[in-house]
């Protein structure tokens, strides 16, 4: 069984509120097992919300799931963000609307046959000239879905279909191993770009790197490589992998690249 539906929970049409509408959509379900849900957020004009890595400033949306016993949530999938730059401060985020996907699946054998209600708490920061933070509680109950809900959810998902990062193998780019080197300007990761698509890479949006701080305003391409300057949190910090999005024009490709480990304490 495959269906899609939506439950509208929190609405505000006030111009003063940055989040005009927050809803949890049930996008896909296979009986009582795996479900794909989408957190759909519509923003008032001029406001933006942040990506999973907000960049130099801002806060990523934080989602705390409230799931029935026997279910667990997978990682969040964000669409490709826009890059905002102001006074050397780089942020990644979304204007207008965003759909954040998550797979909810059983953590073990299930006895129930009916799909349970999925609920979550969203902690958010939205900014225009100034910033506002807030919290929303939202849920979706499969038992209450209607054909109209199904149609509307499919329409929203299709609107975002092209906005999610693609797998790298469709980009005609080959990536093997990144280097972690110390230049005269400090530590940096160098990602060699090989293949026909390598010359088309226009940017790199990194995911957050534990124990390292990226200088987003100095991410650059030079000599067939993407250069990502970063600073370790301390002498014990080790970098083994860098994850993020390679940007080629309007397209983004998700990459996870092993980093050749070099002892940077010496």
């Amino acid at each position: 069984m495959l269906f899609s539906t939506a439950l509208f929970v929190a609405v505000s049409n006030s111009e003063e509120k940055p989040l005009r509408k927050v809803e949890l959509l049930l996008l896909e379900s296979h009986k009582a097992s795996i479900m794909t849900v989408g957190l759909h957020i519509q923003l008032a004009p001029s406001w933006h919300l942040y990506w999973i890595n907000p960049g130099d400033a801002g806060l990523a949306p934080e989602i705390t799931w409230n799931l029935p016993p026997g279910y667990e949530a997978g990682p969040l999938r964000f669409p490709t963000p826009e890059k905002f730059v102001h006074s050397d401060i780089v942020a990644y985020g979304f204007k207008s609307e965003v759909l954040i996907l998550c797979e909810i699946r059983p953590s073990g054998p299930l006895t129930a046959t009916e799909m349970p209600t999925i609920a979550c708490q969203l902690d958010w920061m939205a900014c225009q000239e100034s910033c506002i933070t807030g919290r929303e509680a939202i849920k979706v109950s499969p038992a209450t879905q209607t054909p109209a809900d199904l149609k509307r959810s499919r329409k929203i998902l299709s609107r975002f279909a092209r906005r999610f990062p693609k797998p790298l193998d469709t980009a005609r780019i080959s990536l093997k191993e990144a280097g972690f080197v110390k230049s005269r300007n400090g530590w940096q990761v160098e990602i060699p770009l090989m293949g026909k698509g390598g010359g088309l890479v226009s940017d790199f949006y990194p995911y957050s790197i534990e124990n390292f701080v990226v200088a987003h305003n100095r991410i650059a391409r030079s000599g067939g490589k993407v250069i990502i300057p970063l600073e370790p949190s301390g002498p014990s910090a080790v970098l083994v992998r860098i994850d993020g999005l390679l940007i080629l024009g309007d397209d983004a490709y998700e990459v996870s690249i092993p980093v050749k480990s070099i002892d940077h304490s010496s």
Binding site: S87, C131, S202, D203
Partner: protein, 207 residues
């Protein structure tokens, strides 16, 4: 009229130019941990001037702030920042609040308002400094409010980053970064965590 191949090369050229160092983003770099912190001379809320170099020989905590930022508001209303400030001041540490909000921004507040707001928040500090042109903030690389810097007794940058590891204020076991760094410096020991990613609102610099 250009053909598909030419278009591809043209796009590649534009993409490459956009990513050349100095074309995309600035190459101005803030000081690295362990290097001298750039000096500044700023006016305090009471009209006096303070330089970072005035405090050579002391440990100095710099806290970038903006009372219009909800993350700053949370840290004060939860009492986390005032408690940290008091603990540091009690140890003889200098604590300087710095506001780099440009006067044209909606979050800009005059001195009297700042005195009242931070008084109500029970903030404890050595001086509250105004940096309306953002020069001090940009020289140090202040990006968020709050953003914390710790300067050691020799005037070198010893810590650059967040106040803790709890951006949303939802973690029951938050890790404070500033206090351990100050304690290590007071003992003459190396700081274990010297750099973290600051979080909060962007500093409201003028363009």
């Amino acid at each position: 009229m250009i053909n598909r191949c030419q278009r591809t090369w043209l796009f590649a050229l534009i993409a490459g130019l956009a990513l050349l160092p100095g074309v995309l983003g600035s190459q101005d770099q803030p000081p690295a941990v362990g290097s001298p912190a750039p000096d500044f001379k700023l006016t305090c809320l009471d009209g006096n001037t303070h330089s970072l170099s005035d405090y050579r020989g002391k440990i100095v905590v710099l806290e970038w702030t903006n009372p219009g930022c909800p993350v700053v508001q949370r840290h004060y209303k939860d009492g986390l920042m005032p408690a940290l400030q008091k603990e540091c001041l009690d140890e003889g540490v200098v604590w300087l609040l710095i506001n780099s909000t440009n006067p044209g921004h909606a979050n800009f507040k005059p001195a009297e308002d700042l005195k009242r707001i931070y008084g109500e928040w029970k903030a404890a500090f050595t001086a509250f400094l105004m940096d309306p042109d953002g020069k001090a903030g940009k020289a140090l690389g202040a990006k968020t409010t709050p953003h914390m810097f710790i300067i050691d007794k020799e005037g070198k940058l010893a810590y650059n980053g967040a106040v803790d590891d709890d951006p949303q204020g939802t973690q029951p076991d938050r890790m404070d970064y500033v206090k351990p760094a100050v304690e290590a410096l007071l003992k003459g020991e190396p700081v274990a965590t010297t750099t973290t990613k600051p979080y909060g609102c962007s500093v409201k610099y003028a363009e």
